[in-house]
Subunit: 221 residues, 2 copies
Protein backbone atom coordinates (compact mmCIF):
# COMPACT_ATOMS: atom_id res chain seq x y z
CA UNK A 1 0.00 0.00 0.00
CA UNK A 2 1.23 3.48 -0.78
CA UNK A 3 1.44 5.78 2.23
CA UNK A 4 -0.76 8.87 2.45
CA UNK A 5 1.17 11.65 0.71
CA UNK A 6 -0.02 15.01 1.95
CA UNK A 7 -1.01 17.75 -0.46
CA UNK A 8 -1.30 21.33 0.82
CA UNK A 9 -5.01 20.66 1.43
CA UNK A 10 -4.53 17.41 3.30
CA UNK A 11 -1.52 18.48 5.37
CA UNK A 12 -2.28 18.45 9.07
CA UNK A 13 -1.42 21.86 10.48
CA UNK A 14 -2.37 21.42 14.12
CA UNK A 15 -1.53 18.63 16.60
CA UNK A 16 0.73 17.14 13.95
CA UNK A 17 1.76 14.36 16.31
CA UNK A 18 -1.74 12.95 15.89
CA UNK A 19 -1.32 12.54 12.14
CA UNK A 20 -0.95 9.06 10.64
CA UNK A 21 0.54 8.38 7.25
CA UNK A 22 -0.29 4.69 6.99
CA UNK A 23 -3.03 3.92 4.51
CA UNK A 24 -4.18 1.06 6.75
CA UNK A 25 -5.16 3.65 9.38
CA UNK A 26 -7.31 5.41 6.78
CA UNK A 27 -9.02 2.16 5.84
CA UNK A 28 -9.62 1.27 9.50
CA UNK A 29 -11.41 4.54 10.25
CA UNK A 30 -13.49 4.45 7.08
CA UNK A 31 -14.43 0.81 7.56
CA UNK A 32 -15.56 1.30 11.16
CA UNK A 33 -17.72 4.41 10.68
CA UNK A 34 -21.39 4.23 9.81
CA UNK A 35 -22.04 7.72 8.40
CA UNK A 36 -19.72 10.28 6.88
CA UNK A 37 -20.10 14.05 6.79
CA UNK A 38 -20.05 15.25 3.20
CA UNK A 39 -18.99 18.87 2.74
CA UNK A 40 -19.46 20.89 -0.41
CA UNK A 41 -19.73 24.52 -1.44
CA UNK A 42 -23.18 25.71 -2.49
CA UNK A 43 -23.60 29.31 -3.68
CA UNK A 44 -20.37 30.18 -1.93
CA UNK A 45 -21.44 28.77 1.42
CA UNK A 46 -20.29 25.54 3.04
CA UNK A 47 -22.84 22.74 3.38
CA UNK A 48 -22.23 19.65 5.53
CA UNK A 49 -24.64 16.71 5.33
CA UNK A 50 -24.51 13.25 6.90
CA UNK A 51 -24.69 10.42 4.41
CA UNK A 52 -24.07 6.72 4.05
CA UNK A 53 -20.91 5.52 2.40
CA UNK A 54 -18.79 2.47 1.75
CA UNK A 55 -15.21 1.72 0.70
CA UNK A 56 -13.76 -0.69 -1.81
CA UNK A 57 -10.00 -0.51 -2.23
CA UNK A 58 -9.11 3.12 -2.81
CA UNK A 59 -12.58 4.23 -3.83
CA UNK A 60 -15.14 5.72 -1.49
CA UNK A 61 -18.78 5.41 -2.58
CA UNK A 62 -21.38 7.90 -1.38
CA UNK A 63 -25.15 8.11 -1.47
CA UNK A 64 -25.39 11.07 -3.81
CA UNK A 65 -29.07 11.72 -3.30
CA UNK A 66 -28.37 13.44 0.00
CA UNK A 67 -28.92 17.13 -0.68
CA UNK A 68 -29.68 16.14 -4.22
CA UNK A 69 -30.41 19.62 -5.63
CA UNK A 70 -26.92 20.68 -4.69
CA UNK A 71 -25.37 17.54 -6.09
CA UNK A 72 -27.30 17.83 -9.30
CA UNK A 73 -26.25 21.46 -9.63
CA UNK A 74 -22.65 20.45 -9.46
CA UNK A 75 -22.87 17.23 -11.49
CA UNK A 76 -21.10 15.42 -13.03
CA UNK A 77 -18.22 16.32 -10.73
CA UNK A 78 -18.18 18.22 -7.48
CA UNK A 79 -15.38 19.26 -5.14
CA UNK A 80 -16.09 17.61 -1.80
CA UNK A 81 -14.57 16.96 1.60
CA UNK A 82 -15.68 13.75 3.30
CA UNK A 83 -15.00 13.31 7.00
CA UNK A 84 -15.55 10.26 9.20
CA UNK A 85 -15.07 10.61 12.95
CA UNK A 86 -15.06 7.91 15.61
CA UNK A 87 -15.24 9.17 19.19
CA UNK A 88 -13.51 6.76 21.57
CA UNK A 89 -13.37 8.53 24.93
CA UNK A 90 -13.71 11.71 26.94
CA UNK A 91 -10.36 12.56 28.51
CA UNK A 92 -10.69 14.20 31.94
CA UNK A 93 -7.55 16.11 32.90
CA UNK A 94 -6.57 17.69 36.21
CA UNK A 95 -6.86 21.07 34.46
CA UNK A 96 -9.79 22.30 32.38
CA UNK A 97 -7.38 23.23 29.61
CA UNK A 98 -6.07 19.68 29.12
CA UNK A 99 -9.48 18.05 28.80
CA UNK A 100 -9.72 16.30 25.46
CA UNK A 101 -11.31 13.52 23.48
CA UNK A 102 -9.84 10.34 22.13
CA UNK A 103 -10.94 9.96 18.55
CA UNK A 104 -9.97 8.72 15.11
CA UNK A 105 -10.87 10.84 12.12
CA UNK A 106 -10.34 10.62 8.38
CA UNK A 107 -10.64 13.59 6.02
CA UNK A 108 -10.79 12.96 2.28
CA UNK A 109 -10.61 15.68 -0.39
CA UNK A 110 -11.40 15.29 -4.04
CA UNK A 111 -13.89 15.55 -6.85
CA UNK A 112 -16.80 13.15 -6.49
CA UNK A 113 -18.21 11.81 -9.73
CA UNK A 114 -21.71 10.54 -10.46
CA UNK A 115 -21.69 6.87 -11.39
CA UNK A 116 -23.74 5.01 -13.99
CA UNK A 117 -24.04 1.47 -15.34
CA UNK A 118 -21.86 -1.29 -13.90
CA UNK A 119 -19.88 1.12 -11.75
CA UNK A 120 -23.10 2.32 -10.14
CA UNK A 121 -24.23 -1.27 -9.50
CA UNK A 122 -20.91 -1.98 -7.86
CA UNK A 123 -21.22 1.19 -5.78
CA UNK A 124 -24.67 0.14 -4.54
CA UNK A 125 -23.26 -3.23 -3.58
CA UNK A 126 -20.42 -1.63 -1.62
CA UNK A 127 -22.80 0.84 0.08
CA UNK A 128 -25.11 -2.01 1.09
CA UNK A 129 -22.27 -4.17 2.38
CA UNK A 130 -21.10 -1.30 4.54
CA UNK A 131 -24.47 -0.42 6.06
CA UNK A 132 -25.91 -3.90 6.29
CA UNK A 133 -23.46 -6.70 5.49
CA UNK A 134 -25.32 -9.72 4.18
CA UNK A 135 -28.34 -7.81 2.92
CA UNK A 136 -27.12 -7.71 -0.68
CA UNK A 137 -27.51 -11.51 -0.81
CA UNK A 138 -30.56 -11.72 1.48
CA UNK A 139 -32.93 -8.92 0.45
CA UNK A 140 -34.85 -8.30 -2.76
CA UNK A 141 -32.62 -6.93 -5.55
CA UNK A 142 -32.72 -3.35 -6.76
CA UNK A 143 -35.02 -3.17 -9.79
CA UNK A 144 -34.57 -1.00 -12.88
CA UNK A 145 -36.85 1.78 -11.66
CA UNK A 146 -35.14 1.94 -8.26
CA UNK A 147 -31.73 1.84 -9.91
CA UNK A 148 -32.60 4.84 -12.07
CA UNK A 149 -33.87 6.86 -9.10
CA UNK A 150 -30.86 6.41 -6.86
CA UNK A 151 -27.64 8.38 -7.13
CA UNK A 152 -24.19 7.01 -6.31
CA UNK A 153 -21.00 9.04 -6.19
CA UNK A 154 -17.41 7.84 -6.20
CA UNK A 155 -14.40 9.58 -4.67
CA UNK A 156 -10.81 8.41 -5.01
CA UNK A 157 -8.85 8.03 -1.78
CA UNK A 158 -5.94 9.93 -3.28
CA UNK A 159 -5.90 12.98 -1.02
CA UNK A 160 -6.62 12.10 2.57
CA UNK A 161 -5.41 12.55 6.12
CA UNK A 162 -5.96 10.63 9.33
CA UNK A 163 -5.74 11.89 12.89
CA UNK A 164 -5.77 9.74 15.99
CA UNK A 165 -5.68 10.60 19.68
CA UNK A 166 -5.47 7.39 21.64
CA UNK A 167 -3.36 8.18 24.69
CA UNK A 168 -4.31 8.89 28.28
CA UNK A 169 -4.33 12.15 30.19
CA UNK A 170 -1.61 14.68 29.35
CA UNK A 171 -1.46 17.21 32.17
CA UNK A 172 1.09 19.79 33.23
CA UNK A 173 3.68 18.28 35.63
CA UNK A 174 2.63 20.75 38.32
CA UNK A 175 -0.97 19.56 38.07
CA UNK A 176 0.09 15.91 38.26
CA UNK A 177 2.10 16.66 41.37
CA UNK A 178 -0.73 18.63 43.02
CA UNK A 179 -2.98 15.55 42.56
CA UNK A 180 -5.99 17.76 43.34
CA UNK A 181 -8.51 16.62 40.71
CA UNK A 182 -9.51 13.34 39.16
CA UNK A 183 -7.79 12.46 35.90
CA UNK A 184 -8.71 9.62 33.64
CA UNK A 185 -10.41 8.37 30.52
CA UNK A 186 -14.14 7.72 30.14
CA UNK A 187 -14.56 5.31 27.20
CA UNK A 188 -17.35 5.90 24.69
CA UNK A 189 -18.83 2.59 23.56
CA UNK A 190 -20.94 2.04 20.48
CA UNK A 191 -22.66 -1.25 19.80
CA UNK A 192 -25.75 -2.77 18.24
CA UNK A 193 -28.69 -3.69 20.44
CA UNK A 194 -31.03 -6.65 19.88
CA UNK A 195 -32.79 -6.55 16.49
CA UNK A 196 -36.47 -5.55 16.49
CA UNK A 197 -38.36 -7.51 13.84
CA UNK A 198 -41.03 -5.68 11.84
CA UNK A 199 -44.51 -6.72 13.11
CA UNK A 200 -45.54 -7.84 9.62
CA UNK A 201 -42.45 -9.99 9.05
CA UNK A 202 -42.44 -13.73 9.74
CA UNK A 203 -38.86 -14.37 8.58
CA UNK A 204 -36.56 -15.15 11.54
CA UNK A 205 -33.62 -12.85 12.29
CA UNK A 206 -30.82 -14.00 9.97
CA UNK A 207 -27.30 -14.70 11.21
CA UNK A 208 -25.84 -11.74 9.31
CA UNK A 209 -27.96 -9.46 11.51
CA UNK A 210 -27.74 -11.23 14.87
CA UNK A 211 -23.96 -11.52 14.50
CA UNK A 212 -23.64 -7.74 14.81
CA UNK A 213 -25.18 -7.62 18.29
CA UNK A 214 -22.80 -7.48 21.20
CA UNK A 215 -20.93 -5.43 23.74
CA UNK A 216 -17.92 -4.79 21.54
CA UNK A 217 -16.44 -1.31 21.55
CA UNK A 218 -15.15 -1.87 18.05
CA UNK A 219 -18.40 -2.15 16.16
CA UNK A 220 -19.35 0.27 13.44
CA UNK A 221 -21.05 3.40 14.63
CA UNK B 1 -39.51 29.46 21.72
CA UNK B 2 -39.65 30.64 18.15
CA UNK B 3 -39.97 27.87 15.59
CA UNK B 4 -37.20 27.24 13.07
CA UNK B 5 -37.94 29.51 10.12
CA UNK B 6 -36.29 28.15 7.00
CA UNK B 7 -34.15 30.34 4.80
CA UNK B 8 -33.28 29.16 1.27
CA UNK B 9 -30.09 27.69 2.71
CA UNK B 10 -31.76 25.86 5.57
CA UNK B 11 -34.80 24.60 3.68
CA UNK B 12 -34.92 20.83 3.52
CA UNK B 13 -35.23 19.80 -0.11
CA UNK B 14 -35.24 16.03 0.16
CA UNK B 15 -37.27 13.70 2.43
CA UNK B 16 -39.17 16.76 3.63
CA UNK B 17 -41.35 14.60 5.85
CA UNK B 18 -38.30 14.13 8.05
CA UNK B 19 -37.97 17.86 8.71
CA UNK B 20 -38.81 19.26 12.14
CA UNK B 21 -39.61 22.88 12.81
CA UNK B 22 -39.68 22.79 16.59
CA UNK B 23 -36.72 24.51 18.19
CA UNK B 24 -36.82 21.94 21.02
CA UNK B 25 -35.86 19.25 18.48
CA UNK B 26 -32.83 21.32 17.49
CA UNK B 27 -31.78 21.71 21.12
CA UNK B 28 -32.26 17.98 21.78
CA UNK B 29 -29.95 16.94 18.93
CA UNK B 30 -27.29 19.50 19.79
CA UNK B 31 -27.39 18.67 23.50
CA UNK B 32 -27.02 14.93 22.93
CA UNK B 33 -24.13 14.99 20.45
CA UNK B 34 -20.51 14.94 21.53
CA UNK B 35 -18.75 16.29 18.43
CA UNK B 36 -19.96 18.42 15.56
CA UNK B 37 -18.67 18.57 12.01
CA UNK B 38 -17.61 22.11 11.17
CA UNK B 39 -17.63 22.96 7.47
CA UNK B 40 -16.00 25.98 5.91
CA UNK B 41 -14.64 27.05 2.55
CA UNK B 42 -10.87 27.29 2.27
CA UNK B 43 -9.33 28.49 -0.99
CA UNK B 44 -12.56 27.61 -2.74
CA UNK B 45 -12.64 24.03 -1.45
CA UNK B 46 -14.86 22.61 1.28
CA UNK B 47 -13.21 21.55 4.53
CA UNK B 48 -15.02 19.50 7.18
CA UNK B 49 -13.42 18.99 10.58
CA UNK B 50 -14.72 17.36 13.75
CA UNK B 51 -14.68 19.62 16.78
CA UNK B 52 -16.07 19.98 20.27
CA UNK B 53 -18.98 22.30 20.88
CA UNK B 54 -21.58 23.32 23.41
CA UNK B 55 -24.90 25.16 23.43
CA UNK B 56 -26.28 27.86 25.70
CA UNK B 57 -29.69 29.18 24.70
CA UNK B 58 -29.52 30.11 21.05
CA UNK B 59 -25.75 30.29 20.85
CA UNK B 60 -23.50 27.46 19.75
CA UNK B 61 -19.90 27.62 20.97
CA UNK B 62 -17.11 25.93 19.04
CA UNK B 63 -13.48 25.12 19.71
CA UNK B 64 -11.99 27.46 17.12
CA UNK B 65 -8.48 26.09 17.27
CA UNK B 66 -9.49 23.14 15.12
CA UNK B 67 -7.93 23.82 11.75
CA UNK B 68 -6.64 27.02 13.22
CA UNK B 69 -4.79 28.37 10.18
CA UNK B 70 -8.01 28.33 8.22
CA UNK B 71 -9.96 29.92 11.04
CA UNK B 72 -7.34 32.59 11.56
CA UNK B 73 -7.33 33.34 7.84
CA UNK B 74 -11.04 33.99 7.97
CA UNK B 75 -11.19 35.78 11.32
CA UNK B 76 -12.95 37.63 12.82
CA UNK B 77 -15.96 36.12 11.06
CA UNK B 78 -16.27 33.06 8.90
CA UNK B 79 -19.18 31.49 7.04
CA UNK B 80 -19.66 28.01 8.46
CA UNK B 81 -22.01 25.06 8.43
CA UNK B 82 -22.12 23.01 11.63
CA UNK B 83 -23.71 19.56 11.54
CA UNK B 84 -24.42 17.19 14.42
CA UNK B 85 -25.63 13.68 13.60
CA UNK B 86 -26.88 10.99 15.96
CA UNK B 87 -27.23 7.53 14.44
CA UNK B 88 -29.98 5.53 16.16
CA UNK B 89 -30.42 2.39 14.09
CA UNK B 90 -29.78 0.49 10.89
CA UNK B 91 -33.10 -0.20 9.15
CA UNK B 92 -33.16 -3.53 7.30
CA UNK B 93 -35.87 -3.62 4.65
CA UNK B 94 -37.17 -6.53 2.57
CA UNK B 95 -35.68 -4.77 -0.46
CA UNK B 96 -32.15 -3.40 -0.79
CA UNK B 97 -33.58 -0.11 -1.98
CA UNK B 98 -35.56 0.55 1.21
CA UNK B 99 -32.67 -0.04 3.59
CA UNK B 100 -32.12 3.08 5.66
CA UNK B 101 -30.84 4.50 8.91
CA UNK B 102 -32.68 6.02 11.80
CA UNK B 103 -30.96 9.22 12.79
CA UNK B 104 -31.39 12.73 14.07
CA UNK B 105 -29.36 15.51 12.51
CA UNK B 106 -29.06 19.25 12.97
CA UNK B 107 -27.54 21.58 10.38
CA UNK B 108 -26.70 25.15 11.40
CA UNK B 109 -25.62 27.88 8.97
CA UNK B 110 -24.13 31.23 9.87
CA UNK B 111 -21.10 33.37 10.45
CA UNK B 112 -19.01 32.23 13.41
CA UNK B 113 -17.26 34.96 15.33
CA UNK B 114 -14.10 34.78 17.42
CA UNK B 115 -14.80 35.55 21.07
CA UNK B 116 -12.73 37.47 23.59
CA UNK B 117 -13.00 38.57 27.21
CA UNK B 118 -16.04 37.58 29.27
CA UNK B 119 -17.82 36.06 26.28
CA UNK B 120 -14.85 33.80 25.68
CA UNK B 121 -14.79 32.75 29.36
CA UNK B 122 -18.46 31.93 29.15
CA UNK B 123 -17.88 29.96 25.95
CA UNK B 124 -15.15 27.89 27.61
CA UNK B 125 -17.50 27.16 30.49
CA UNK B 126 -20.25 26.01 28.09
CA UNK B 127 -17.80 23.89 26.07
CA UNK B 128 -16.52 22.24 29.26
CA UNK B 129 -20.02 21.59 30.60
CA UNK B 130 -20.92 19.88 27.33
CA UNK B 131 -17.85 17.64 27.09
CA UNK B 132 -17.39 16.93 30.77
CA UNK B 133 -20.21 18.18 33.00
CA UNK B 134 -18.89 18.88 36.49
CA UNK B 135 -15.30 19.43 35.41
CA UNK B 136 -15.61 23.22 35.41
CA UNK B 137 -16.13 23.10 39.20
CA UNK B 138 -13.81 20.13 39.87
CA UNK B 139 -10.68 20.67 37.78
CA UNK B 140 -7.98 23.36 37.91
CA UNK B 141 -9.12 26.66 36.34
CA UNK B 142 -7.89 27.95 33.03
CA UNK B 143 -5.00 30.34 33.67
CA UNK B 144 -4.21 33.51 31.75
CA UNK B 145 -1.67 31.89 29.45
CA UNK B 146 -4.01 29.02 28.58
CA UNK B 147 -6.87 31.44 28.06
CA UNK B 148 -4.84 33.45 25.57
CA UNK B 149 -3.82 30.36 23.61
CA UNK B 150 -7.28 28.89 23.16
CA UNK B 151 -9.78 30.01 20.55
CA UNK B 152 -13.55 30.00 21.00
CA UNK B 153 -16.11 30.74 18.31
CA UNK B 154 -19.78 31.57 18.67
CA UNK B 155 -22.54 30.88 16.15
CA UNK B 156 -26.15 32.04 16.50
CA UNK B 157 -28.80 29.36 16.14
CA UNK B 158 -30.77 31.58 13.76
CA UNK B 159 -30.57 29.53 10.58
CA UNK B 160 -30.92 25.84 11.25
CA UNK B 161 -32.73 22.71 10.20
CA UNK B 162 -33.41 19.39 11.88
CA UNK B 163 -34.12 16.04 10.27
CA UNK B 164 -35.29 12.94 12.06
CA UNK B 165 -35.99 9.44 10.85
CA UNK B 166 -37.42 7.43 13.72
CA UNK B 167 -39.90 5.02 12.18
CA UNK B 168 -39.65 1.34 11.37
CA UNK B 169 -39.27 -0.37 8.03
CA UNK B 170 -41.03 1.19 5.05
CA UNK B 171 -41.19 -1.41 2.28
CA UNK B 172 -43.22 -1.72 -0.90
CA UNK B 173 -46.57 -3.47 -0.26
CA UNK B 174 -45.58 -6.24 -2.69
CA UNK B 175 -42.40 -6.90 -0.69
CA UNK B 176 -44.33 -6.99 2.59
CA UNK B 177 -46.74 -9.50 1.10
CA UNK B 178 -43.97 -11.68 -0.32
CA UNK B 179 -42.48 -11.91 3.21
CA UNK B 180 -39.30 -13.29 1.67
CA UNK B 181 -36.61 -11.41 3.59
CA UNK B 182 -36.11 -10.27 7.17
CA UNK B 183 -37.21 -6.73 7.96
CA UNK B 184 -36.52 -4.89 11.15
CA UNK B 185 -34.52 -2.32 13.02
CA UNK B 186 -31.07 -2.88 14.53
CA UNK B 187 -30.58 -0.23 17.24
CA UNK B 188 -27.25 1.56 17.56
CA UNK B 189 -26.39 2.17 21.21
CA UNK B 190 -23.86 4.61 22.52
CA UNK B 191 -22.88 4.72 26.17
CA UNK B 192 -19.98 5.43 28.48
CA UNK B 193 -17.93 2.54 29.83
CA UNK B 194 -16.29 2.39 33.27
CA UNK B 195 -13.84 5.27 33.90
CA UNK B 196 -10.13 4.41 33.75
CA UNK B 197 -8.22 6.43 36.33
CA UNK B 198 -4.81 7.82 35.35
CA UNK B 199 -2.06 5.70 37.01
CA UNK B 200 -0.56 8.77 38.67
CA UNK B 201 -3.86 9.99 40.13
CA UNK B 202 -4.93 9.17 43.70
CA UNK B 203 -8.21 11.14 43.61
CA UNK B 204 -11.24 8.80 43.56
CA UNK B 205 -13.62 8.88 40.60
CA UNK B 206 -16.01 11.76 41.31
CA UNK B 207 -19.80 11.37 41.08
CA UNK B 208 -20.05 13.68 38.07
CA UNK B 209 -17.97 11.15 36.11
CA UNK B 210 -19.37 7.86 37.46
CA UNK B 211 -22.94 9.11 36.93
CA UNK B 212 -22.39 9.05 33.17
CA UNK B 213 -21.68 5.32 33.04
CA UNK B 214 -24.54 3.08 32.10
CA UNK B 215 -26.36 1.14 29.43
CA UNK B 216 -28.56 4.04 28.31
CA UNK B 217 -29.10 4.48 24.61
CA UNK B 218 -29.67 8.17 25.14
CA UNK B 219 -26.27 9.23 26.34
CA UNK B 220 -24.16 11.74 24.45
CA UNK B 221 -22.09 10.29 21.68
Amino acid sequence: MTPLSPTPRSTITRKKDRGRSDRADLYAVLDEGLVCHLGLVLNGSPLVLPTGYGRDGDTLYLHGSTGSPSMRAAAPEVDVCVTVTLVDAVVYARSINDHSMNYRSAVVHGRARQLSGDEKWHGLHVLTDHLAPGSWEHARDVNAKEFAAVSVLALDLAEASVKVRDVGVVDEPSDVEADAAWAGVLPVRTSFGPPETDPECSVPVPAHVSARVGPSTKLPR
